[in-house]
């Protein structure tokens, strides 16, 4: 049994990272035509090339195949790396480490990934310059998010909301409930639009903070070229194991999920078919465990009524009703923006809590849909709700990292959905309503976390030059109620 352990910060070079670096160097030296080469493995996730090569551009995002596809991808990759490690004289028990940026003090890029030289004094293959410069300077992700606001620093790197989900998958249709731990029941897709909380928030945020406006990690076409990609996804995969180990949590049992097939490669270069059914139990089926794995845990203590309402014990679909709408398209190009949500009298009545925070309140959601992005902007936007005029009291509802934002996979047979985010807005609206007789007016604020904000937010660091920002057009901004 191989054990995936937390990545080492001290010492900078432990055995695992030393051998990972050597294996990366070896894989980089292989020709692109070799499925076990570094660039071929990265192209399986995505590539800008439109060449018709086996398994290229097959990553799954925005739905319930996100977790199983990436688990299979990592397991096949880990076998290839281990074969390279042992061929170089390294240990048989080598396993991929994970980067747990949620832990205090571990949210900066692990030092071995930002050192120009490896343990032997040679150029370090784990170090790439195609990242946001702050990350390679060792600035913590939490500190970067704090340049947006302290709430973003708390929320952006937190898996709690996702881990609290009771069912793996919410509904799949465009208008039904989008959440669940693992995402909506979508067809196999490079970019579907029923994101789980962990995928759209924690996962997307880390991608964009590491990649920045011009780096590799911001874009699925290049993300897996960065050696840190695999440690980021090992952590995401660990969260799935941890979620499933809570009592009462089960993975999907539908045949449509269990039997979806993907191609990956073995160390010998031969292709192999994988399905979600074959990657449900890491210990039994894939011969690895995480150092945090333990016996079955009781579920995290959350308000039962709240959870019941989110997914329904049977994971049934639920339609969300629009109660407010922004007139027209919201355009973001690296600057703050605001839009007024138009509410009619019935909506105001529905949204206004009867009395204070403890009164029964319907759950409400902010939907950003029909999002058109010419290129991954590589900056985050904080999305806030505010009252009619008071910008100081704006409440964070979520982050919009716009990772995997382009429905651009011409080789794949799938619907080309535009990106959609759905944020739980219940608490934000409740806080806005406290002290007010009614919610008379609601505005949606977008605040960028780009080079300019980081330059002014991070004292003592030189600002990176500001590249031109691709415009993000959000065709539909709506308040929904479940």
């Amino acid at each position: 049994m191989h054990e995936r352990r937390i990545v080492s910060f001290d010492p900078v070079w432990d055995d695992t990272l030393t051998w990972y670096e050597r294996a990366v160097a070896k894989m980089r030296s292989r020709p692109l035509t070799d499925p076990t080469s570094w660039d071929y493995q990265a192209a399986i996730h995505g590539t800008a090339s439109d060449a018709n090569v086996a398994a290229w551009r097959t990553c799954e995002h925005g739905g319930w195949f996100f977790f199983p596809w990436h688990r299979a991808y990592l397991a096949a990759f880990e076998d290839i790396v281990r074969a390279a490690v042992t061929s170089l004289g390294g240990p048989e028990e080598w396993a991929l480490p994970y980067w747990d940026y949620e832990l205090d003090g571990f949210d900066s890029l692990p030092p071995a990934f930002r050192a120009p030289k490896n343990s032997s004094g040679q150029p370090n293959k784990l170090f790439v310059t195609e990242r946001w410069s702050y990350v390679n300077d060792g600035v913590g992700l939490r500190r970067m998010l704090a340049a947006l606001d302290p709430a973003a620093a708390d929320e952006g790197l937190s898996s709690t909301r996702g881990m609290n989900e009771r069912t793996f998958s919410g509904g799949g249709a465009d208008m039904s409930f989008p959440f669940g731990f693992g995402g909506g029941q979508t067809p196999s897709s490079h970019q579907a639009n029923s994101y789980s909380h962990i995928e759209s928030q924690l996962h997307g945020t880390v991608h964009v903070l590491v990649g920045g406006p011009e780096g590799w990690m911001r874009n699925p076409d290049t993300a897996a070229r960065d050696p840190i990609f695999w440690l980021h996804h090992a952590n995401i995969d660990r969260l799935w194991s941890k979620w499933a180990a809570q009592a009462g949590r089960t993975n999907p049992t539908q045949a449509a999920w269990l039997t979806q097939g993907w191609t990956f490669f073995e160390p010998a270069g031969t292709s192999k078919q994988w399905t979600p059914a074959a990657v449900q139990d890491t210990a039994d089926q894939l011969d690895y465990r995480y150092d945090t794995d333990g016996p079955v845990q009781p579920p995290i203590d959350v308000d039962a009524a709240m959870v019941d309402d989110v997914a329904g014990a049977d994971g049934s679909r639920r339609d969300l009703q629009p109660v407010g709408l922004v007139d027209g398209t919201v355009r973001l190009s690296g600057h703050a923006a605001a839009a007024t949500v138009e509410l009619d009298d019935a909506s105001i009545a529905a949204l206004t809590p009867a009395a204070g925070l403890d009164a029964p309140t319907p759950r409400s959601f902010l939907e950003l849909a029909d999002i058109d992005v010419p290129d991954e902007p590589g900056i985050l936007y904080g999305v806030y709700l505010a009252g009619g005029s008071d910008t100081e009291a704006a409440q964070l509802v979520g982050l919009a990292p716009f990772f995997a934002a382009r429905p651009d996979a011409p080789q794949r047979d799938q619907h080309e959905h535009r990106l959609r985010y759905v944020f739980d807005a219940t608490e934000a609206l409740q806080r806005l309503a406290v002290g007010a007789d009614s919610i008379g007016s609601v505005r949606v604020l977008f605040r960028p976390l780009g080079p300019a904000q980081l330059a002014s937010g991070l004292d003592g660091l030189d600002g990176a030059p500001e590249p031109p920002m691709p415009e993000v057009a959000i065709g539909r901004v709506a308040l929904l109620m479940g």
Binding site: A305, S316, P362, D413, G482
Partner: protein, 245 residues
């Protein structure tokens, strides 16, 4: 924090919609059968075709009416995903919004049919011309423009909540959908709009093509299947034509 939650489970129910769309489709087919039957009795020509194509029935109004019936018969079932979205997003006014979107959608088709039939007038398509048009339709399935149009059909714009602006947004949404659908499916509809025979088998083939494209989760495969159906129809017609002559 302690949040009690009022539960208002609104599940996706589309039974009403399915019944409505199936009813519209059946009514359109029935109306075409009846009018085709009357037309053939009126002309005292007993043919084995129960329905005539729209181009052969005489006056322009009759042709346009025939085209409208044919569009409703062929396109309605494929509207299910789109109308499910409309119904869910406008639940409080769904008895108004769904018909409004449907009306705007078919109004675009009607307008296109009116213009096309005014320009072409009454035509008698030779079997060779029908085969050629079917091959054009099969080829259209494989173009990037077709792919773009089909992708556009998936776009869902915002529907406003109440008042006149809601109706306007519903009309706009239906008209956009109609326009994208015309872009996507004009080639399939053209031979039938011009009165290609045999009308019934061609309409069944065309309905299969457009409905599959609307309901599929594999759009590229659906386009290929559509091209294959159209090409096979062309081949069958050609074979029948040359066997007779």
């Amino acid at each position: 924090m302690a949040t009690a939650v009022t539960s208002s489970p609104l599940r996706v129910r589309s039974a009403h919609l399915v019944v409505l769309l199936a009813g519209m489709t059946a009514a359109a087919w029935l109306a075409m059968a009846v009018s085709g039957h009357q037309a053939s009795r009126g002309s005292m020509q007993a043919t084995h075709h129960h329905m005539h194509g729209v181009g052969t029935t005489g006056s322009l109004p009759a042709s346009v009416a025939g085209f409208a019936l044919m569009t409703v018969a062929m396109m309605t079932i494929g509207l299910l995903p789109l109308l499910r979205y409309v119904r869910t997003r406008t639940l409080r006014r769904r008895w108004w919004s769904v018909p409004t979107v449907v009306a705007a959608y078919f109004a675009v088709w009607l307008l296109v049919g009116l213009v096309a039939l005014s320009l072409t007038g009454r035509v008698e398509l030779s079997p060779v011309a029908v085969v050629a048009l079917l091959l054009v339709a099969a080829a259209w399935q494989l173009t990037p423009m077709k792919r773009w149009a089909m992708t556009s059909c998936e776009r869902t714009t915002a529907l406003r909540l109440s008042g006149r602006r809601a109706t306007q947004s519903e009309l706009r949404f239906g008209a956009h959908q109609g326009a994208w659908c015309v872009m996507s499916c004009w080639a399939v509809m053209l031979p039938m709009a011009l009165g290609a025979q045999p009308a019934v088998p061609l309409m069944i083939a065309g309905t299969t093509v457009v409905t599959t494209e609307r309901l599929t989760s594999r759009p590229a495969r659906a386009r290929l299947v559509g091209a294959a159906i159209l090409a096979a129809s062309a081949a069958t017609l050609a074979a029948a034509h040359f066997a007779l002559t």
